[in-house]
Amino acid sequence: MLDEIRGGFSVALRRWPVMFTLAGLITIAAAVLSLALVDVLSQVAVLKGGRQLRERHAVFFTPYYPPGGEVSRVGEDVVQDVMDLIDQQRAYAAIVYNMALDDPDFAGGYPVLVLFGDVVPELFPELHLCDPAPCAMRGARVPEGVVVSVTIGGEEIPVEKALPRHATFFDVNVAGLPLDHRIVVRALTRMIPRLAPIEREELLTRVVLLDPPESTVDTFVSGAAQGKLFLVPHSVSVEQPQRFREIMMRSAMYIVGILAFLVLALMAFVSSARLVIQKERRALKIRQMYGATPLHLSLRIGGFLAAVILIPEMIVLFLLQRFLVLADAPAPNTPLWVMPCLVVTFAYLWFSLTREVLGKEGLGGW
């Protein structure tokens, strides 16, 4: 049996220039298809994650900073207004990148996400955040005991438990932030006045207002503008679906294009495979005369097909899946979805080609 499969492989190897090219094209297309699907799935996840925010008519802001790398000086009254809104659960805010920039040992060197607002656990229930604030959690891949506590605004906050594996923060400002290697802190608004200016600036740019009346938005924007921080407001319910549509359009182009190309590549391969088998007709006939059953012949044909449209693709897709898992991609298993499609295509071609050969060449039926 194994000899037959090996024989099928050598049939492909003897015609390696054409077979290698076709196998390469199909492999590249399958890999790109997997990557395009990763993109689609992560965008769908972002859209799903933003559902609560859309329902609550959230408003977020695009910042324009003061020139020359200067940190903005937004007035205390504006900061106080934001703190009041957060305390009334009508807003939340986050610090994603700028927490303790001058202290490389902060939180054991792990990046920190600081969240302000009791409304956050409600908006992102899938994160299973600790409660009540102040409290902190570690990402699933941060070892236990490495970071015992973090100090924010002079208050020490113990790191309690781990976040679920592959937890992702779907804030409107950061489209899907993986949390596996982060420390997530739920801080209280009373800590805001004691934050460094650059931390406070980031917090103001990442304020998300929930169901805000127009006057609240206008007051916040003009207050921030007086401190040379220009914040352009957007509504999540308008902006996010629009962004989603644009990205889906791009992904659709990849997917439709690759599928069209795969069909053409498979058509070329089937023609070429037919010709190869036709040339092998005599060899098959001789093998039959020496006792090869239809099963043996079909295994030989299967070996040939697998060498081109199954094995190289499976190896590359498997490696891609391992890479995506290691790289913490949002949907690392899409290559595993493409694999069954290839197996089905292979099975169909194997079945039809074997039936054709055995029927047409008078080598016996199934």
């Binding site: 695009t62 324009y64 659709a252 182009m253 069209a260 190309f261």
Partner: protein
């Protein structure tokens, strides 16, 4: 109708339509960087430099820059790239920028004319007569204009006033090294440091676009597969061609006959593929196709049909003409 040719034509047209989409987007994003400035454009990003410049020196250099642009028949567009006000400043004494209305020639007047972009927060504020915190002091709103394509979150465009130009992205409609050098020297005197220089012939911006590259690769490889497929298909018909040849058919006649017979399948497939691919992508993105996009897709479909027909002719010639004697011998 030959269904093999129909399906190959169909899939090739799908791929060609996608290249057309990618091309259209690459063109759009190129225009976005160049803000629809006519001709070849240089885009520069400036930040404040380390050189010490007094404001009077900077003002003097800015006046010289304006005079130089005026004299060289150039336009300058300065846009914020995340710093300063969310604005675009335009200096266009010869009215070269198609989307921007004229600026008054009398620069001595105190109010800075501002045109708000349609659909922005600033327009919303203006409509309810609320003060706009993004506008510079002394600005006066002259009207609402359509924003240049994909201007993102930028709120308005205004004429370059007497205040000093900010850091940001500078686009000027020339790639002449002498002129660019002169502009750079003047901006250096104004206290700026160039952070990145990008000369932007469209071709370079095209080959840096990943979507364009992938779709172009797919269409190229797709044609390769189709040629292989057709050659093998025609190769399988060698016996038929041999018999026809032995009965007096000349290669030209065989090629002509098969080419004509293949045309209905190829054309129908190409047209259907082009229309379907364009429609499908537009439907997924829920966009209404603009006249420009319809035109590009139409051209792409026609090009796909012609290219596919020529490829079919090539495959026929390859198998029938070159293998005529072999076929004749059987």
């Amino acid at each position: 109708m030959n269904y093999r040719l129909f399906w190959t034509g169909f899939f090739l047209a799908v791929l060609t339509a996608l290249v057309a989409w990618a091309f259209q987007w690459a063109l759009d994003s190129w225009k976005e960087v160049t803000f629809d400035l006519p001709g070849e454009v240089t885009v520069l990003r400036f930040i404040k430099g380390p050189q010490m410049t007094s404001s009077s020196e900077a003002e003097l250099a800015q006046e010289e820059l304006k005079a130089y642009l005026h004299q060289q028949h150039l336009a300058l567009i300065v846009s914020s790239s995340g710093d300063n006000r969310p604005e675009i400043q335009v200096y266009d004494p010869h009215n070269l920028v198609p989307w921007f209305p004229e600026c008054p020639l009398d620069e001595a007047q105190s109010a800075i004319p501002v045109y708000l972009f349609r659909g922005t927060y600033s327009e919303h504020l203006w409509r309810k007569s609320a003060p706009n915190p993004f506008l510079p002091p002394g600005a006066s709103v002259k009207g609402i204009i359509d924003a240049p394509r994909r201007s993102g979150t930028l709120q308005y465009a205004r004429c370059v006033g007497n205040d000093l130009l900010p850091e940001g992205q500078y686009a000027v409609n020339t790639t002449d090294p002498v002129k660019v050098q002169n502009v750079l020297a003047l901006l250096h005197r104004m206290g700026f440091l160039v952070q990145e220089t990008r000369k932007l012939p469209f071709f370079f911006s095209l080959i840096q676009d990943p979507l364009m590259l992938i779709t172009a690769f797919l269409v190229f490889a797709g044609y390769g597969c189709v040629v292989l497929y057709w050659v093998l298909y025609l190769y399988g018909r060698s016996r038929e061609f041999g018999i026809r040849a032995r009965h007096g058919a000349r290669p030209v006649h065989l090629v002509e006959e098969n080419f004509t017979n293949g045309l209905p399948g190829l054309t129908t497939g190409s047209l259907l593929g082009g229309v379907l691919a364009g429609g499908l992508v537009a439907a997924i993105g829920q966009v209404n196709l603009s006249a420009e996009e319809m035109f590009t897709l139409g051209i792409a479909t026609i090009v796909a049909a012609i290219m596919t027909a020529l490829t079919w002719l090539f495959a026929l010639s390859l198998v029938i003409r070159l293998r005529y004697e072999v076929n004749l011998a059987g």
